[in-house]
């Protein structure tokens, strides 16, 4: 009689190795092609705009074929690095300020100076906007647009509470007072005055800069100490205790995307975002949103700066750099292409392009242009290039903000831990 379904030998034959080996098998690489391959990150709205602009470019340049792929921010950097490592880099690369230095210094993207004045006519971007896309004196990307860190709020919710919403030049103390007044008068259950900003690197950076500090020094070391970080977490702990900001488990749902933010989830009347994300926020909720600068420090230094929201770069292995430069120019400097992209990647650096865009702008887009115009007189210099490991330190800030939020550690301890971990990451490189 054989009652067993699976005998000893058959089981071993089933191949436990086969069950566990796929773990350590690396990625496979795609085939290279001869046309312009393009890669960028973004969502559906951006895809719609970008594809329309690509189609127009192809119609005007019949000899050039374009093969574009896009994905979300998180997957993007893994995909790009894998393709570069596999010797299969796309010609056209959407680049971020944080990664530009690494890619440029490792020779993965090429200098664009030779195309200036020829394929690339971007002299009117101004020195500031060329410098912000340069590494060691060479230009590595075409500035697609500038953005700034901002405060986004639902004006109707503030009006219902009978409190003046945050505005340009609102100080941190005033911001606290406004939120407390909102909380006292609040009629909407489950809605707090503001999101919890302690996890927001951009907001932390503005806060540090108003005090004459920075996230990173020019030599790549940390620009703040444990006491600074401790005070930052303590500020938000007070906000959490007074119910001015959302609770820790609501904020923990936020995953760096508009869809997961407390304001879009209907849990807060105020939130924090990069200005080029404002339209995405507005598209996701019915309430009419407004956008202003981040809170300031009375008598403090200018905390905000205009950041190149992204740049278009060319891979150093590209076989068609001139045509790719032509495509970049079409997207950022020719009205036909730039109009199709709109403000989705930031406010264009060229005054002429901004003029050309103005008549077509929606009210939402206009608010973003106004924000940038209002902030421009009050901005500080572009911070030094972030060191290697900056992305990981951002993740550390998010995690420690949660540890403090869920009261696993005190704000002071959280500040000390954050500086310790950040220094360890910087040391490791």
């Amino acid at each position: 009689m054989n009652t067993t379904l699976i005998g000893r030998r058959r089981f071993l034959g089933a191949g436990l190795a086969a069950a566990s080996l796929p773990l350590i098998a690396g990625p496979a690489f795609a085939q290279a092609t001869n046309n312009i391959r393009m890669i960028w990150w973004g969502g559906d709205e951006r895809a719609r705009r970008t594809n329309a602009a690509i189609d127009l470019f192809k119609a005007a340049n019949s000899g050039i074929a374009i093969d574009a792929e896009f994905m979300g921010w998180d997957d993007y950097w893994a995909r790009l690095a894998t393709q570069v490592a596999g010797g299969n880099a796309p010609d056209f690369i959407q680049m971020d300020y944080r990664y530009m230095f690494e890619y440029a210094r490792r020779g993965a993207i090429r200098p664009l100076d030779e195309f200036l004045g020829k394929e690339l006519n971007i002299a009117d971007f101004g020195q500031v906007n060329l410098d912000s896309c340069s590494v060691d004196g060479k230009l590595y990307g075409g500035n697609v647009g500038v953005n700034a860190f901002s405060v986004v709020f639902d004006g109707m919710a503030w009006e219902e509470a009978g409190v003046e919403p945050p505005a340009f030049g609102t100080t941190w103390d005033e911001f606290t007072a406004k939120c407390d007044a909102f909380t006292a008068a609040n009629k909407r259950p489950r809605v707090n005055a503001t999101a919890d900003g302690s996890c927001q690197e951009g907001l932390f950076e503005v806060w540090l800069r108003t005090q004459g500090k920075a996230l990173y020094n020019p030599d790549g070391t940390l620009g703040y100490d444990a006491a600074d970080a401790g005070r930052w977490f303590a500020y938000w702990t007070e906000m959490r205790k007074s119910k001015a900001c959302v609770s820790a488990d609501v904020q923990a749902l936020y995953k760096n995307s508009p869809e997961t933010s407390p304001i879009v989830g209907g849990r807060s009347a105020t939130d924090f975002a990069h200005s080029n994300q404002f339209e995405s926020y507005q598209k996701l909720i019915a309430a009419d949103l407004s956008v202003v600068g981040a809170p300031v420090l009375e008598g403090g230094k200018p905390g905000q700066y205009l950041k190149p929201s992204q740049m278009f770069s060319i891979s150093s292995s590209s076989k068609n750099p001139a045509q790719t430069a032509q495509l970049i120019n079409f997207l950022i400097r020719e009205p036909a292409g730039a109009k199709l992209l709109g403000l989705d990647r930031g406010v264009p650096a060229s005054a002429e392009i901004r003029e050309a865009l103005m008549p077509d702008l929606t009210d939402t887009s206009r608010k973003v242009v106004e924000l940038i115009s209002n902030l421009t007189p009050h901005i500080g210099p572009l911070p030094p290039s972030p060191p290697k490991g900056a992305g990981e330190i951002n993740a550390v800030q998010i995690r420690i903000s949660q540890e403090v939020g869920f009261e696993a550690v005190s704000p002071e301890q959280g500040g000390a831990n954050m500086v310790d971990e950040a220094n360890a990451i910087l040391k490791r490189g």
Partner: protein, 315 residues
Amino acid sequence: MAAYDTMSKPDTRKQGAAGGWLAGAIRRNGAGYLFLAPWLIGFFCLTLGPALASLYLSFTNFDLLSAPEFIGAQNYVRMVTADPRFIASIRVTLVYVALSVPLKLAFALAVAMVLNRGMRGLPFYRAIFYLPSLLGTSVAIAVLWRQLFAADGLVNSLLAQIGIEGPSWISNPNYSLYTLVVLSVWQFGSPMIIFLAGLRQIPTDMYEAASLDGASPTRQFLRITLPLLSPVIFFNFVIQTIEAFKAFTPAFVISGGSGGPINSTLFYTLYLYQEAFSYFRMGYASALAWVLVVIIAIFTAFSFLTTKYWVHYDD
């Protein structure tokens, strides 16, 4: 592939002992190897090759963008001496394995025993219960789970009906891991199908004889069902344990790739993924992958060693 090349050539040179054996094996089984070739090529080129490459990379500081530099065992040393997140991920993974595997197996066995009683529409129920397993590793299910257990999700709406205000299960570090355990238990279909097949093979006359002797259903379960089913239980146990160690998708989707809140869902594989693809430490991630292989191998070997105490083979 090498085997295939030799096969097509006429055998002219004098063979050494090993070569003669190989040539003989190919002559006898040539057609078999030919049919196996697609799998063999896939296995050697796409699985074994990259796996061995990752073994080499685990001794380097490879970062995807620059050439790997050999750094000895530094990656492995760092893991055990200076990496709190590694320790955290091990802890999370062990808790997950320890909870999800027994619960899932118990649940699968319970359902299989109900279905084994013979009921109308059995194929229908079997298919329905199996469905979650088919969808198991899909992103859509993880997204669904996120919706169910969010602060405003279905679970809390139901709790609200009976006057309980539930927390946001997935974004609270006290509960987030357990929602993933529940998700895993819900996907009990594939062990259930195997249990069902195993139960079918237990001769009914044994139960009849036991009933005549006055054995209670509990006693029958303990003395007949469990011992005769033990090889199947063992099979499911090992496979599910390996699967649980390798779990990735649910934590990745539900935590947005962060393993948060506060590392509470930082599965080992998720940590490995972060090191490899978020921070580009491909060398370190390769070392992590090999440590996981060793951990799984040790667990599996240990499971095999225990079989002589509780698994009954008849063959």
